[in-house]
Symmetry: C2
């Protein structure tokens, strides 16, 4: 796993993946106490950065493997990213999703032409289901984060951040990344190591699902007690990836752990100030910058707003409970 | 009023105004029955295209006039655009706003450092208030649309559309523009005449506030019976501008008139499919493309999503009443 793979992925993604904007707002700068920049990956195709990794992985397959089809497990964003990437390559896709995933994510994945298989997040093992179906039907399994070409695809977001930040004169900043298994975090960290070595990636996780933060602090992979039950469904994973953890250990600063309510508050700020729709897990980097700035250093902070696939009810709840004035 | 003024404004705006993205979505293409492209001006600074015109007008003033300060009347978007542009030029700003404008617009205008004066939309004449205050206090009045430098600033949005559409291979399309007094509509029409002569601007207005559509149809400036009472507050004006109407007559296709409910439905689509927050008036171009496609021609349609300054209550109402599935 290295920068050359990220650059190669960037070439394959060119013209297919959206170069999302790096946004700022004087109102938000006031709340956060420093200049805050938001990389709006919610505007990516399928509403999250996961399309980068999906496209990267599917486009790296042989045409024979593409023809046979792909399989993925996901709470919804990787699902949609892989489903659309597969469809655009003429490949079929089977997606294994938790039965309690947000409705919209399940419906959208189906609408993108994928076959969706639901499982119980608390009692069944998606890895097992994925492996057995993959073997039985000859499908290539595209892991959500522990997969080099997926990490390479997510890393292209880091290449863009380096270039867009440099264009506004910024070469030093903490970069707050919404962190589940660490695919985006490790990919962006590798990209910034090469292109913006004075930027420092900080993984951000929800309270009770802070496996990466504790793993980085102790130097050993830690596991979460719970497997589900967070509104930040997109970034809930049991433990850091075998591929992603060593990269994060080498390149990332300390993790930041954020209460769920702060994600809802940040969604309301993104609504009012950036006119961007974020889901709770996609807003957690922004939440860290806004409400946990004491753990951040420097006069600029960059946060990746990683996704916007949220049901209307949850979004309306964020606006009603945490009005941004 | 000509293309040279728009190009000159583009040079003054460079580095200060955001080049907003031109977005698409396969889901939305299915609803509209053709390829639909959304110019996401809600992502502009202050949440609407009005910052373009505000910056253009303030930056065109002498430093002496800037020092004396500016005055504007607006339901909220021009207010914020002028207020921020003035502040960034070190100029003071007085803004005259209707007392029933969305709360967030009034608060934001104040937060941007402007002095806000409220008036009653149904009984008072904002033009009169503006002129008398302007004279009494030596302020330069920046008209919301009937002002060459404002039209020039809004026209830069058209220059971007021409370039961004060409980059994805599109040179022919109807361009649906949310239309109030016609500043954006006429500016974009002038820009496209020069840069994309096979694009055709179509003004879009709400039912009961279709003065431009009727004026274009009859060849004479028509007036709306009501002055307020629309959820599309941003694009409610009594009659086409004296400067903008002749430009629209020369360059625009027929207007499209859209019921308010369709704006709410389009807001819900923009939420679910583009992850963009739109206000009702800012969604009316998208609404025309989605639900009045029989009045549009060609395989591509471009709509300008002109603003996203909407109160949380109105936004939640759109999502609840018109779920996008």
């Amino acid at each position: 796993m290295n920068i050359a793979m990220i650059r190669a992925a960037a070439l394959r993604l060119e013209g297919h993946v959206r170069r999302t904007p790096l946004l700022n707002s004087s109102f938000v700068d006031e709340i956060s106490g420093r200049r805050l920049w938001m990389k709006a990956e919610a505007l990516q195709h399928t509403g999250s950065f996961k399309f980068r990794g999906g496209w990267s992985a599917v486009s790296a397959l042989s045409s024979q493997a593409q023809k046979a089809g792909v399989i993925a497990f996901s709470s919804g964003n990787h699902a949609q990213g892989v489903a659309l990437a597969a469809r655009m390559h003429g490949a079929s896709a089977v997606i294994i999703m938790p039965s309690n995933a947000p409705k919209s994510k399940v419906e959208n994945t189906r609408a993108l032409g994928a076959e969706v298989i639901l499982y119980d997040r608390d009692t069944e093992d998606r890895q097992e289901i994925g492996r057995s179906l993959s073997q039985a039907r000859g499908l290539t399994l595209i892991q959500p984060y522990d997969e080099p070409e997926v990490i390479a695809g997510q890393g292209t977001c880091g290449l863009e951040i380096a270039a867009q930040a440099a264009a506004v004169g910024i070469t030093e900043a903490d970069v707050l990344v919404c962190c589940g298994g660490g695919g985006l975090t490790s990919g962006v960290a590798l990209a910034l190591e090469a292109e913006a070595p004075n930027m420092w990636v900080r993984p951000v996780e929800p309270v009770d699902f802070d496996d990466v933060t504790r793993s980085l602090a102790t130097g050993m992979a830690q596991t979460n007690a719970r497997l589900g039950g967070s509104i930040c469904d997109a970034i809930v994973t049991p433990t850091p990836g075998a591929l992603t953890f060593p990269i994060m250990q080498r390149l990332c600063g300390a993790g930041i752990v954020v209460p769920e309510e702060d994600c809802l508050r940040a969604m309301s700020v993104a609504f009012a100030r950036f006119k961007i729709v974020l889901e709770p897990g996609g807003a957690i980097g922004l939440a860290a910058a806004l409400y946990h700035g004491d753990q951040v250093s420097g006069k600029d902070v960059i946060c990746i707003a990683s996704g916007g696939n949220v049901d209307a009810e949850m979004f309306a709840r964020a606006l009603a409970e945490y009005p941004c004035t």
